[in-house]
Amino acid sequence: MTIDTLRLTAEDAAGLLERKEVSAPELHRAFVDAIAERDGGLNAYLRTVDEPDGDGVPIAFKDLISTRGVETTAGSKILSGYVPVADATVATRCREAGMTLLGKTNMDEFAMGSSTENSAFGPTRNPWDPERVPGGSSGGSAAAVAAGLAPWALGSDTGGSVKQPASLCGIVGLRPTYGTVSRSGIVAFASSLDQVGPMTKTVRDNALLYRTIAGRDPADTTTVELQQPVEIPEREDLNGVRVGVPRELNEAEGIEPGVKELTDRTIELCRELGAEVGETTLPRSVTYGLACYYLVAPSEASSNLARYDGVRYGLRVDGANVREMYEKTRDAGFGDEPKRRIMLGTYALSAGYYEAYYGQAQKVRTVIAQEHAAAFRDFDVLVSPTSPTVAFGIGEKAENPLAMYLSDVLTIPSNMAGLPGLSIPSGLSDGLPVGFQLIGPQFAENALFHVGHALERAIGFDYVPRRLA
């Protein structure tokens, strides 16, 4: 039978396998062929695995997820040729569920970026318009799912790196509650923010993948047990759900008119489905969120990236002495964005500046958490656009770091509070996907899946990019 890789969801795939209408190797092969056919123009994959290594549904992993025996670069030259000797916990959990690895996807180097243009291996192109970015840093995973090069994928989110590319590519992306998915074996960027998240064509697929990877891991002591089992959503109404619309998130500077219009329409749809919709406020979280993140995350990164020194793995550039080796290796191996963030973090943590910068940012983080908690006293879910814009042109923001950082203005605040966020497609603006962000309190993934699924059904968005159909 011909497998429609563009349209096939993971749930569809599982059904085909169960009814023995197709075998796992045939399914894997269909996607490997699709990659050969369509990935040349997209560069979603850094490397593929031709032979299936499981009897279940194929999956792609962002290249910062350690895969035993398969090169893992985190999008950086400094890890070129690095082959992990063990799987990340999330990779093990997927493998034990029978999933078969299709390959490793492209990303902004060390997850630092919002467009995948910071990859040391070339940008990934948006399947909806190849002159535009897929978003980042999980751009490769987003493009792979959107272009039917994988039924589903794992990405990672620190400042919005699952939600924003999902929005720009017209797919579903979950940033889980911090602590519900193991970071063991994940190349670290900012340890108090990083979370691996599912990227899928539908909300039900997202819940299915989250259920496979989530839960406490003894190898990562920042993880906790889920408070309830993951529910695969079925309800299509929103009766009894209180939806909050934070004015600062919805009126932030830079939100395009097309994005605003679709967001307003989706909020109205919540009402039609039976939700109680009301306005709320996050007085300082959006104004100070970006500044807070760009102090906390680079500070943690400056520590996490200190390990890349040419000694034990990855690139080594020789020097007359050890110190020279460190400096030359790091200069040659890191791209501009990691260098900028390492320096920013080092500066913010240095003697004389620590209190004013990092210390103050940690306090802003408390304020953000408190403001969200206050909003959640009156509402079950908060909503906003995921990204202020649709996919922008390749090269458009690449020379201006600050302009690039603004891509995450709407995803960052809830991330600072450790809260889960789901992005679902709300429609097309000028032919390009727009994402709708649902934010919940900690451990509220089931509520996000419920609301997301009901909206998805009502919106009826076709996730196959028109130019590929």
């Binding site: 040729g81 082959v83 000797v85 911090y178 602590g179 108090s192 003894p218 002591t221 920042t222 906790v224 100070y288 970006l290 500044a291 807070c292 760009y294 102090l295 400056s302 200190a306 020194d309 040419g310 000694v311 034990r312 793995y313 990855g314 690139l315 080594r316 020789d318 007359a320 002495n321 050890v322 110190r323 020279e324 080796m325 460190y326 400096e327 030359k328 790091r330 200069d331 260098k339 900028r340 390492i342 320096m343 920013l344 080092t346 500066y347 240095s350 004013a356 910068y357 103050q360 940012a361 940690q362 306090k363 802003v364 983080r365 408390t366 304020v367 958490a369 770091p401 600050l402 450790g418």
Partner: protein, 93 residues
């Protein structure tokens, strides 16, 4: 300038990054703009706010003190750019 060329050189030294002159100039400009933007956090009076280091209320997560096999030496050295027996080999200090 929110951050000076000398400060950039100092910070690059701390982070073991050898930068070209062109890089130092370019990064000084870019970092200055970024530092000015993030310095916005100083506008808030947060003297009575506790800092948040971590989003969850986890304290002292212990594991049992039970011996378990650790990474075999060959696995640990599998990606070594240069090795000598069971050692990573590096230039002299």
């Amino acid at each position: 300038m929110a951050i000076t060329r000398d400060e950039v050189l100092h910070v690059a030294r701390l982070a073991r990054l050898e930068l070209t002159d062109e890089e130092v100039d370019r990064f000084t400009d870019q970092l200055s703009a970024i530092v000015e933007a993030v310095n916005r956090v100083s506008e808030l009076d947060l003297s009575d706010v506790e800092p948040t280091a971590h989003p969850l209320d986890l304290v002292n997560v212990w594991s049992d003190d039970e011996p378990r096999p650790s990474l075999p030496v060959d696995a640990a050295l599998a990606n070594a750019p240069d090795r000598d027996g069971s050692f990573f080999k590096v230039p002299p200090a």
